[in-house]
Amino acid sequence: MLEQKIIIFVSFGYMGLLFAIAFWGDKRAEAGKSIISNPYIYALSLAVYCTAWTFYGSVGAASRSGATGFLSIYLGPTLMMILGWPVLRKIIRISRINRITSIADFIASRYGKSATIAGAVTIIAVLGIVPYMSVQIKAISTSFQLISQYPDVYMAKTATSLSATKDTAFSVAILLALFSVVFGTRHLEVTERHEGLVAAIAFESIVKLIAIISVGLFITYGLYSGFGDLFTQASLVPKIKQLFVMEVNASTFTGWYNALFLAMMAIFLLPRQFQMIVVENVDENHLKKAVWLFPLYLLAINIFVIPIAFGGMLHFFEQCASDPVCKQTLPETFSGILKFTNGIVDADYFSLTLLMAKKQQGLALFVFIGGMSAATGMVIVETIALSTMVCNDLVMPVLLRLPFLKLEQKSDLSRLLLIIRRVSILLIILLGYLYFHYVVEYYSLVSIGMISFTAVAQFCPAVIGGIFWKGATRRGALWGLLAGFLIWLYTLVLPSLGQAGFLSQDLLTNGPFGIEFLNPTHLFGLDVQLLGFDQYTHAVFWSMFTNIALFIGVSLFSTQNAMERKQAILFVDVFKYSSESEKSSFWRETASVADLRMLLERFLGKNRTDDALSLYARQHNINWGKKLIADAGLVSHAEKLLAGAIGSASALVMVRSVVEEEPLGMDEIMHILDETQQIIIYSQELEKATKDLEAANERLKELDRLKNEFISTVTHELRTPLTSVRALAEIVQNNPDLDAQKHHRFVGIIIKESERLSRLINNVLDFQKIESGQIQWQMTRLDFREVIEDSIFSTGQLIEEKNIDLTLDISNQAGFVSGDKDRLIQVMVNLISNAVKFCDPEYGKIQVGMYAETIKTGGNENRYLKVFVKDNGIGISKKDQEIVFQKFRQAVAGSKGRPAGTGIGLTITQHIIDSHGGRIWVDSELKKGATFFFTLPLLQ
């Protein structure tokens, strides 16, 4: 006989141990020596997934339908971890950066920190989880009752015993609630992370695993001599043998895949799973190990499910055969319930009842503790997660909006937050109890769990779509969630209430008001029989279909506001913006540091605020003494700190209350766009400037090249007369007996070539003067005829030598101009020398002339002197005509033919004419000679 006192004592002792572990975990975290910061603890904490449903329910499911009954629930998470880890990693990264506190916070934050979405997700989560919660209450109270009546394994199904069960369940619920309250909200500080809790949950995962493996080993090797023996014996019983093969038909097939899908979603969308995988994650890298450690755990905890089921069936079928009532009531296919004379045996609790039947007192107690571990773990984490959501996303947003509460004026709200959380934990568990009280007895553990899984699966489009598709909008997410939720209510919850007798059975058979089309068991006339849909598959099909359709459809036809747009980018491109999310602040304006600090203190408490702000100051090199105005970065940081405590939607509301400016409205956005426009214009200008610079650089390069060419040309031109001078001087020196005529001629050439040298040097110097603008003009009134005459006198010898026919075409009339005579002579000499150089070598002809011309411009008549120098040489091509006046240019350049002198003569000429108010140009045709014209203003 196991005394109840002992059971209760052990139970409370176990709870005490959990507290100790949690306390130790928190202490270590405070000391900076986190015990949970390793992938093994992380993977174990994820095993909070395995609840009483797994611990007891799997055995029942395996007894009813073999491996198909339970395996998909564990294959789903395995698949999700192994194949879907990039999704999980992205969610973890996003949550860490945005200090996400819960699944509701995550979805709301993605859709523009929408309080509506946060509230909707919270309501769906709470209502969805209630059946699941009731499963745990049922498991603990049933197992407690069973072990209390040790060694009697039969559960009475009388009204009194039922109400006794319910009384037990109520006590269990109350105890669970108190335990969760104390456990989850021990600290006055409200944080999103609970290190001690994680440590305790990891410990619970070890306990439940060892417990189930112990039962398995006992049955397999204690009662039978190994797997082989057990399976052989089982195969002898027809009812068990039929479980050996998987019955494949439309129903098992779709049901199997449906469960697989739901489990894949549940592993990260269930509030407690999100809490453990995402919120409590210390290091993103832990996921890498958990990806195989967690599936390994699932494998281990499932290994003995079938042996336990078979062992239980073998034992109780044998008992059944000798019990008259049971023998009669045993149906063809085992439904999991055996009705004995003294009461019933539920396959869900085989692991416990078999041990009791075999008088394994100690082991049975250990299994009870294992089951309690599984159930309490779930309840604690789930209620902490849900209460956070209820507080942050449902209650606080409402309270903050109620002006009469004057919450803004309260100096410390962290107490209020804790109270709200505690109350919500109590209420959630109470709801779970009520569901158990009225509904659960009609369902097995597994089927109730499926209702909850279907509810949380509704988050899938909003979450997955939200992190991969920037176009997903708040409206799309909201419509999808609500539609999916309503269909869930209608197709799963409503029938379960109907089953419990709250609604008329007529609704389930004929549809509401007899409208078959709206029948909740085959909605919209879906032929569930043909498709092999069970009620869960049917519900999942319709809820996910409408959810996804509305999510995508409404998203495509609705627009995002600025906040949504920003959050969408932050979420989808999280790996791109990881480091700069704080900079990409949405707040254009600033707040006073004092206001911000006060706000933080109200929710976080003074110590944590001080810590957080001094850390921020260290990182950003800020002296709080001097900094009075918080910039956008700090405001954004404060909002994130606050989001860690009260969720992003509420944090937004609170920060908005102290920040002067509203978040960006249309005006500001236009302003920013304007600035962007400015930047674009500026960059275009910059681009243009760069191009100009490049062009200038090209010109400089060209100039450089020309200068090099100029130098080489000038040296060439200098070398030519020097050659004559030197050669002839040497000849004169070496030949003292040279005849007088030759001597005279040679020395004459030497003198002439020396003069040529001087001219060249003067040209170069003139050019340098022109370039630097140092020329001094000696302007006088002069008759241009004199200039021409003087020029021809200077070049006379050159003309004579080349035997050139020079004709002068000077009118009798004097042409008086104002000018520098020497410079104008230089112009004429230049032009005549050029003509001499280029005119036909055999029959050279040069014409020089001048005449007056009247040019009418507008109403004015201007009189000009027009001068020309014409030769009959090779001419200048049209192309070259444009460049002959440019400095360093030569009409005939480089290797082809002779250069036109230094390449600066015409440049100097042009400059002189320009300075006299005239114009110079050339008119020429190749091989027909060239004519240089220039004009000078005539004096009246």
Binding site: S712, T715, H716, E717, R719, T720, P721, L722, T723, S724, V725, R726, A727, L728, E730, I731, N734, N735, K742, R745, F746, I749, K752, E753, E801, P841, I874, S895, K896, G897, R898, P899
Partner: protein, 123 residues
């Protein structure tokens, strides 16, 4: 028999001393002011050596050299560039056209005379 030297230059005042020097050293001399004229004289007169300027009106000295070297019958003709273009690239270009020498202006008369003697006694 006197060796024949063709002077190709467009500067009369450079032809004067060159002509004097060649005559003084007992060479037969002809002069040309353009490349075209030079080529005519080469065919008709067949000089032994050409003193070739580069910067000429029309066809330049390089082209003249190239044209001569293309004809097998003129293979024996010595070509000496005599140019004011003194950059190494100009010299390399001239020597690359199979000229026998390249003398830059201004030159030392002795050097030119000796170089010509040297080239003409080789054969």
């Amino acid at each position: 028999m006197k060796k024949k030297i063709l002077i190709v230059d467009d500067e009369p005042n450079i032809i004067v001393p060159l002509k004097f020097l060649m005559k003084q050293n007992n060479y037969d001399v002809q002069t040309a002011e353009t490349g075209e004229k030079a080529l005519d004289l080469i065919s008709s007169w067949q000089p032994d050596l050409i003193l070739l300027d580069i910067m000429l009106p029309g066809m330049d000295g390089y082209e003249v050299c190239q044209k001569i070297r293309q004809e097998k019958e003129f293979n024996q003709i010595k070509i000496v560039f005599l140019s004011a273009m003194a950059r190494s690239i100009d010299i390399a270009k001239g020597m690359g056209l199979a000229a026998d020498d390249y003398i830059t202006k201004p030159f030392a008369t002795d050097y030119v005379v000796n170089k010509i003697k040297e080239l003409l006694t080789d054969t």
